[in-house]
Subunit: 247 residues, 2 copies
Amino acid sequence: MASALTEAGGRTRLFVEEDLAEGAAFALGPEQSHYLLHVLRAKSGDRVLLFNGRDGEWQAEIAAARRALTVACRVQTRRQAGVPDIWLLFAPVKKTPADYLAQKATELGAARLQPVFTRRTIVTRVNRERLSANAAEAAEQSDRLSVPQTPQPVTLEKALAAWPAERRLYFCDEGGEAQPLAEAARGTSGPAAILTGPEGGFDPAERAMLRACPFVVPVTLGPRILRADTAALAALAIWQSVAGDFT
Amino acid sequence: MASALTEAGGRTRLFVEEDLAEGAAFALGPEQSHYLLHVLRAKSGDRVLLFNGRDGEWQAEIAAARRALTVACRVQTRRQAGVPDIWLLFAPVKKTPADYLAQKATELGAARLQPVFTRRTIVTRVNRERLSANAAEAAEQSDRLSVPQTPQPVTLEKALAAWPAERRLYFCDEGGEAQPLAEAARGTSGPAAILTGPEGGFDPAERAMLRACPFVVPVTLGPRILRADTAALAALAIWQSVAGDFT
């Protein structure tokens, strides 16, 4: 009987930390081993695709053991390729929308997911492990060769104080004068970032602080009120479509 | 003590079926009455905003009764305004992603949410009541003056056979040659629709059938594999940003 792995046409992809090169072989961790053995019923000789964010994508052969599986790289199937240099800065949201946001932003090709605490942010803790796990899983399923960076949360003040001047920061502002994002970003190149706020929006002092920064470009996402996670995903999709790799 | 309704600055919005006009007064249904009375602790004299998709938005005054609340229209706060004429045709997805899809698509300004059964669609039933309820709630919260239409699900064949020729149908195709959606839609006007497929994509016969229709425009959403709901929301956001009301 063919394993579920074979039936999937060898398209199962795993994100690993180890270096990938011809002849490289190593044991998979317990979670990935469990998934392959007990969910996909992997057998010795089955193939999977591996990527680590550095060495491209490799087809590897599984050698079964009792509990841990070993994989041996056979051939590189794709060279390493990154995503456009776009960061998403977002005010943390509750658990379920946070999972969703991490997955969708990864599919949409964000290079970095940066939680930012603002004055009206209600959520006070970010589960970074969960954020990374969601990003890795979405990278596996969306054919990415890299997992977004998920740095420590910072306050908005600190993020702006340490901001790299050459990176344009599109500030999705619900009030006040602003250009549509598609117009502001169309045809631009170079590093960029998108900032979306919490459910209650940014407070007036934050808005003034943002608008005073030379690298900040205030933008609008249309006439309706978008939830925090909708705004983040819409902005990413729009940016990719006019300045990123949807073009 | 001020009610939660007053504290919210009178921004509570309710979608109703009744006609709205100066002096119009009627009882709210049990769910809305419960929400106002027991969640927001509404009192006689409190104000809410009402819309029905036809008569604009009205500020109304609450008259408390024991169980059902009565509302009386006072003044029109906004004239009726629609959303751009963009439909979303989507292969039904499981319950949680379906809720999410209905809410987000409403926020992003879809005029119609049309479930479409394709050959690889796994979900076989659509809970239309739930779809409408999600759309109505998202319309209330996103400041829309209309709720998207949620017609009966149809098969892809039937949808195409009855298609109005003047409506461009952007077919989000994962394989094959296609223009980026932003390029295909930029600066266009007139009725449009977006079609996204199920998790497994469209099958070859469906793709051939779609590409043979004169009103179909095959488009791409970039190099990564997007989940069904991500693709639908990304496409709507992009369309709104180049041809809809984000511009």
